[in-house]
């Protein structure tokens, strides 16, 4: 290992520009002749638009255009497409309603865009937006999941009876029935996974520029996925050939899933730019973000666990309602199906599983992938259920888990819900985490807390996730309408610098450093001589962006594949220079060497020869040293681990303080330990946020009650402790780096550990259930209710 290669905590190359205030985020860009867009959005969750009067807005100072759904229709723009097709268990396709970029006829959630005002200043656009007069005939709304499935609920879409988008299942019902028939005990749980808003700190923005002279479009946008945005713009929404479309996602201030999707505003600024002949920029404010960015989670499930007399798991049966919102966002149908139900085996050896998932339309903004996407919902359900089983069976929750974990000699392990885990060691991470939190010392800490009048609890979660969603053939069979490979191009320059073009996208994950480390390790070049380029469809062969912790496992593997080609081509050049057979040349530590001799050529000499081919095998090898590769994985990767959380509750106020968090994950081979720890920290904060503070709440009429940071409680520095993060490595067996993925482990493993800790703390006062978020009020009320019941 070099000091900057794989395994080194290299300080990040990208930090300098961010620290100097020189990052270039989408809203920082002002194009020549820039204009500004403001949207008029529905104040109602469900209504018929009876009239739109734009005259006053159009007559306002500095206004260039006011556009409505009628203009969208007249210009033939396509609706925002959904990227996954899920079939119901009867074989029918999901209900896939239209999603016009500006509402046509009806609005279906608060924030649904109705009109777009373009003016020469932001202030003028905002003022004029207030002058657009929209008449609505308000309809009853089906806003909350439980309300939308009730008998007689209003329909979000006429074509979706019962508001059902699809009714899907997985697993073997007969096998599961047989397992339950043999059970000594059945444990049942009813859990809700609370709806949350992703809250990247940078609000979404889009700046569209149409060049009349060349008939080309450029979109600057806050995207995790610029090539997919270009693909959808080209094929579905703007309907322009891709060679005329450039999508640039410059520095992006966090994503967490909410910036994967193709949003209407991205289409509309390009279209509006064509109409007004000037670049058009829209920047969301935070309140608009709460109303329009896709939300996450929002499941309601009932699950049953069958166990034998010894506590061995026999079977699992799950029924889930998943909220889709009013429209189907890009990945939405995949989240509660292929990313959720396929993870219901968790890290456990389950002989039988059957799960049914009903996806439900509601009059709310779309629900789609958010950090972990489906995996947190599976982990939360399972880990709450296993903890409940331990309590009902009188077993230690650690030991019950240990008894049922998949053993190291059981890999590869075929689950009952489609996935095959390639490798793992769940006992090792369990032991590491227990040692880190001093599990043995917990009873003394609990007693000490009790002496201070505090209730102390320890919560555990053992979890698994699936990252690097793939391979393309499998996801295609499962309903994906795009491939899920990754592309890379490695360009070695004549004097030794290297530029890597990757189809993944960094919005905080540190790719510019981690990917450079791969080059440094493999080619022996200095890390300062490597530049990583991402986020621009004109510069990069292709890409599928960054989400689902896929960047290193899929994108990094594509880079490695391109590097293999570079090394091989260099070998041919070196063999010529060294007057040896190619088969006798090896590449190691940055040098080509004739095996067993001291005859060497440094990588830099070979690169130079490739571009200055004076003494060169020109008949058999092309000049230049640049290679591209596309990598399509054989399988998902499966990180897993144990999260332990210790809390203290003040029974007088209901405040839950997280006093300690110790986690041990197996994320595969670690390229940059500092960055891996940082990713785990961020996920933990979001997991604790969901468990204790955060919830996106709609009232029965579909008004969002938590539409700003005044009412949506984000985790702050004082809400969190330091985190103890450990790792145990088993290398992924099917990608060349052995990596698995880390970005989501905290958000997946942590929430059930927090709630299990809260319930452990509250057990002595008789509280047996707690939903997320465990706010002080909710905890206090639970304590009071238990006291009354006692």
């Amino acid at each position: 290992m070099t000091t900057t290669g794989i395994g080194a905590s290299v300080r990040r190359k990208e930090d300098r520009r961010f620290l100097l205030g020189k990052g270039q985020y989408t809203d920082d860009l002002v194009l020549a002749d820039q204009t500004y867009a403001m949207f008029v959005r529905s104040p109602h969750a469900a209504a018929v638009i009876t009239a739109i009067d734009t005259a006053a807005a159009l007559a306002a100072p500095d206004v260039l255009a006011v556009l409505t759904g009628a203009d969208v229709a007249a210009d033939g723009l396509g609706g925002i497409p959904c990227g996954w097709l899920v079939k119901s268990k009867d074989g029918s396709n999901m209900v896939e309603p239209p999603h016009p970029a500006l509402a046509q006829g009806k609005v279906r959630h608060v924030g649904d865009p109705v009109a777009m005002v373009i003016a020469t200043s932001k202030a003028a656009a905002k003022a004029a937006a207030g002058l657009v007069d929209v008449d609505y005939d308000v309809l009853p709304a089906a806003a909350r999941l439980d309300d939308a499935v009730a008998d007689g609920a209003p329909r979000v879409w006429d074509e979706a009876p019962g508001n059902v988008c699809f009714d899907w299942h997985i697993g073997d019902p007969a096998l599961t029935d047989a397992a339950f028939a043999q059970a000594a005990r059945v444990i049942e749980i009813d859990v809700t996974n609370n709806r949350v808003a992703p809250n990247a700190m940078e609000p979404r923005a889009a700046n569209g520029h149409y060049e009349t002279a060349t008939d080309h479009y450029t979109l600057y946008t806050t995207s995790q996925n610029p090539h997919l945005t270009r693909l959808l713009l080209g094929a579905f929404t703007l309907k322009v050939s891709e060679h005329k479309l450039r999508v640039v996602a410059p520095d992006v201030g966090g994503g967490f899933g909410s910036k994967i999707f193709h949003y209407a505003e991205e289409l509309l600024v390009l279209w509006a730019s064509r109409r007004v002949g000037r670049p058009v920029k829209w920047t969301s404010d935070r309140s608009e973000a709460f109303l329009t960015d896709a939300h996450g989670r929002d499941h309601h499930s009932v699950a049953k666990l069958a166990v034998d007399a010894s506590g061995k798991f026999l079977g699992l049966r799950v029924h889930t309602y998943a909220n889709m919102g009013a429209y189907l966002s890009t990945f939405a149908p995949a989240v509660p199906t292929y990313l959720y139900a396929t993870l219901l085996s968790g890290p456990y050896d389950f002989p039988a599983i059957y799960a049914e998932v009903k996806a439900i339309f509601t009059n709310t903004v779309a629900v789609d992938a958010y950090r972990g996407a489906g995996r947190p919902e599976a982990s939360y359900l399972l880990e709450r259920l296993v903890d409940k089983a331990a309590r009902e069976l009188g077993r230690d929750p650690v030991e019950l888990r240990r008894q049922n974990l998949i053993q190291p000699d059981q890999f590869p392990y075929q689950t009952q819900v489609a996935l095959q885990y390639d490798i793992g060691d769940y006992q090792a991470t369990l032991d590491l985490a227990l040692a880190a939190i001093d599990h043995a010392g917990f009873p003394a800490r609990r007693a000490e807390a009790a002496a201070r009048g505090k209730l102390r609890g320890l919560g555990i979660s053992t979890y698994i996730e699936a990252c690097g969603i793939a391979p393309s053939a499998l996801v295609g069979a499962l309903g994906a309408r795009a491939g899920l490979y990754e592309a890379a191009n490695v360009r070695v320059h004549p004097t030794g610098g290297v530029t890597v073009f990757t189809g993944t996208h960094s919005h905080g994950q540190g790719h510019e450093t981690t990917f450079a480390q791969l080059i440094c390790e493999r080619l022996g070049v200095s890390i300062d001589n490597v530049e990583v380029v991402h986020g621009d469809t004109d510069r990069i062969p292709f890409g599928m962006g960054t989400y689902g912790s896929r960047s290193l496992a899929v994108g990094g593997s594509a880079i490695v594949k391109a590097l293999d080609k570079i090394v091989d081509k260099g070998k041919k050049i070196a063999a010529h220079l060294l007057e040896a057979n190619v088969a006798d040349v090896e590449f190691k530590d940055g040098q080509y060497r004739v095996v067993g001799t001291d005859r060497v050529k440094a990588f830099g000499e070979v690169a130079f020869a490739a571009y200055v081919p004076h003494n060169y095998p020109i008949e058999t090898v092309e000049p230049g040293l640049e290679e591209s590769a596309f990598y399509d994985p054989k399988n998902f990767t499966f990180p897993g681990g144990t999260h332990l959380v210790e809390v203290e509750i003040d029974p007088e106020t209901g405040v839950v303080e997280v006093v300690d968090v110790a986690i041990a994950d197996d994320v595969g081979v670690i390229v940059n330990p500092m960055i891996v720890d940082g990713q785990a920290h961020g996920g933990l904060a979001q997991g604790i946020g969901q468990a204790l503070l955060e919830e996106a709440v709609y009232d029965a009429e579909g008004q969002l009650l938590t539409g700003s940071y005044m009412s949506y409680c984000m985790p702050r520095a004082a809400d969190l402790p330091n985190f103890k993060v450990g790792n145990h490595v088993t290398a992924c067996t099917h990608n060349p780096l052995g990596v698995k993925g880390v970005g989501e482990v905290g958000a997946i493993g942590c929430p059930p550990a927090v709630i299990n800790a809260v319930l452990d703390a509250l057990a002595p006062v008789g509280v047996t259930d707690m939903s997320m978020p465990a706010t002080p009020e909710k905890v206090w009320r639970a304590i009071q209710a238990a006291k009354k019941g006692a």
Partner: protein, 158 residues
């Protein structure tokens, strides 16, 4: 229109703007100092913190005209002669940033805290002080470490 005279990062500058213009708008849109960010519309997130006459202020809570005559420091004014400010250096060393969007506000808030303190602030003091700055990436773990190291750095220590 109002004319506002400011000393920004050591330079005398004049901004002609509508009286309702927020200080953050004057910085970002009139002076093109885009290191100061806007992450919310309720003054909760702290991405827009700058120093006004040496004290940290959320520049979205102040009108540009209120800052008339003031000396401002923004993130662009922290590094001197190509050298990172000790707080900036500490954030890099301790991986106190990921996407970088909240970072300018974090640096400006933290340097004010550490300039006010005679000693290195405790972890609890740092966490309490940062209640007005939201970060969604780091979980604050490394930010807290960075701020304490930056405090040492500002006093010339290690």
């Amino acid at each position: 229109m109002a004319t506002v005279t400011l000393k920004v990062n050591g330079k005398e500058l004049t901004v002609d703007c509508a009286p309702r213009t927020l200080l953050v708008e004057a910085l970002r849109e009139h002076l093109r100092l885009t290191g100061t960010h806007v992450g919310c519309d309720t003054s909760q997130c702290g991405a827009c913190v700058v120093h006004v006459d040496g004290r940290s202020v959320k520049s979205c809570t102040m009108l540009a005209v209120e800052a008339d005559g003031a000396a401002l420091t923004t993130i662009e004014g922290m590094a001197q002669g190509g050298e990172l400010h000790p707080m900036q250096a500490a954030f890099k060393e301790h991986h106190g940033l990921q996407c970088g969007f909240c970072t300018p506000g974090m640096i400006m808030s933290s340097t004010d805290l550490c300039a006010r303190s005679a000693t290195t602030p405790t972890e609890g003091e740092v966490r309490h002080w940062l209640e007005g700055n939201l970060c969604r990436c780091t979980g604050y773990h490394n930010i807290v470490k960075a701020v304490r190291a930056g405090a040492d750095g500002m006093r010339g220590g290690k």
